[in-house]
Structure formats: C-alpha cells, structure tokens
C-alpha cells in the first residue's frame, strides 16, 4: 500500500517537475525577448553554406539563435547549427569526423554550448545559450562534410556590452 502510494507520488512529482521545466523554458524565452539578444542565421539559399560567416552581437546572458534551413524543398538536404566554446572548432571537427558524423554521439561533446536538431528544408529552430563572457564563438553545421569540407562554419563575435 505504502509502496503504491510512493509510486503514485513519484510519478506525480515527475509530471510536475516536467511542467516546471517547460514553464522555465517559457520564462527564458520571455527574458531573451526583453534583456537578451537574438541572432538570425540561415543557409545561403540552397547552397551548403551559412548566409553569414561573421556575426557581431553585444554580450548578453541569454542569447537566442534562430536557424532556418532555406534549401529547396526537393533537395532533401539537412542542415543544423552548433555553437561551440571559443577556440574549440578544430578539436570539435576532429571529434565529429571520428564519430562518423553521428549526431547522437557528438551531441554530448564538451565543446558544444548549444545545438539545433538536423533540420529539413524549410524547417527552423530557435535555441538558447548562455555565454559566460564575451569572445569569438565558432558555429558549425555538423552534417557530413558541411563544416570540415565545404566550409559551412562561422564565428559569432560576442563583444562587451556597452556601458550606459
């Protein structure tokens, strides 16, 4: 009896925690809208390339990055974006090759600050990350060959926020 009650309680609390998790995410979104910084990135049309390779933004604790795969619908080509810790792009790309470009294997790589899913043509996703300080944050597409062979990568230059 006690066991059953415990089970029910633990299931219930899981449910509640989940809900809290969701509303926390919503709060973050709201925060980013007010005090955070937003960045828009897309593919360069149907090319295996980003539309920007150098982006400058002021430092903020919450940065929302929206990525759009603008490849033609029939092209089937997937893209994504991973924001990396400063200075980690070479190490990361080696690890990516060693993983066989396996998104599941690479997603826990310590170099990654945030990463979108692999997005189909026309799809988009917004992700949030929280840089600890200003700096040059590399971003790459982890699809096979895109960053390491075809140069689908760039740098997010997060500058010191101007003091008012």
């Amino acid at each position: 009896m006690l066991n059953k009650t415990l089970k029910i309680v633990s299931i219930l609390s899981l449910f509640i925690l989940n809900k809290q998790g969701l509303s926390k995410d919503k709060d973050k979104e709201r925060l980013a809208g007010k005090s955070g910084v937003t960045v828009s990135l897309s593919t360069k049309g149907n090319d295996i390339a980003f539309d920007q390779t150098s982006i400058q933004i002021p430092f903020a604790e919450n940065i929302t990055l929206t990525f759009v795969n603008q490849a033609l619908k029939g092209s089937e080509i997937l893209h994504n974006v991973a924001v990396l810790k400063p200075g980690s792009v070479d190490t990361f790309l080696k690890a990516l090759q060693l993983s066989g470009y396996d998104l599941d294997k690479i997603k826990n790589d310590p170099s990654i600050l945030v990463m979108t899913e692999a997005l189909a043509p026309g799809a988009s996703q917004s992700v949030q990350f929280h840089p600890s300080e200003p700096g040059f944050y590399p971003f790459v597409c982890v699809m096979p060959g895109h960053a390491d062979m075809l140069g689908m990568k760039g740098t997010l230059n997060i500058t010191k926020a101007s003091k008012k």
Binding site: M143, G145, M149, L150
Partner: protein
Amino acid sequence: MKRFLVILPLVITPFAFAKDHIITQKGKAFSESEITLAPGDNLIFKNDDDTSHNVFSAVEPMKFNLGIQKPGSEASHKFDSAGVAELRCAIHPKMKIKVTVK
C-alpha cells in the same frame, strides 16, 4: 636470364594497368559498402538517382570533394596512395563507403 624476363612483367603490371571501378549511386545508397583498390586505381561514381549527390572524403591524405553531382552524371577520383578512407555524401548523411587502397 630467362627467369628475369618472366618476373619483370609481373612487377610492372600493377602500375601499367590502373583499374577503373564503378560505384553506382541509387536509392540514396552506394552500390557497395566497401571496396579495395590498388594505388593508381580510379573510382567512378555514377549517379543513377533522380537527386544530386556530393561525394567527399574529409580525412588526409585522401581528402577530396567531387562536388555536387547531378542525376545521370559521372564523376571519378584517382586513389594514388595506400590507406583507408570513409567516403560520404554531403547531401545524404546515411550514404557511406569504405575505401581501402593497398
């Protein structure tokens, strides 16, 4: 002397006759999952799909990129030195073929 004459063609043969090997791309897959070549051999990639492919190898010393390959077209790459490479398609993440040159 006679013996020498017999052996000589055997030594020269692998260099004189580099082979062409054909790999077909159909149904978003390579026709083989692995292939073994001799140094100097060519791999010819035929695109029998109605979608483009882009074969590449990202790791030195066999780094190369065939670029976007339209439906119905052919592209080839010559493998000069011994080694192992995993070739992939930049458009279809599941396509791969292991090439051993020895």
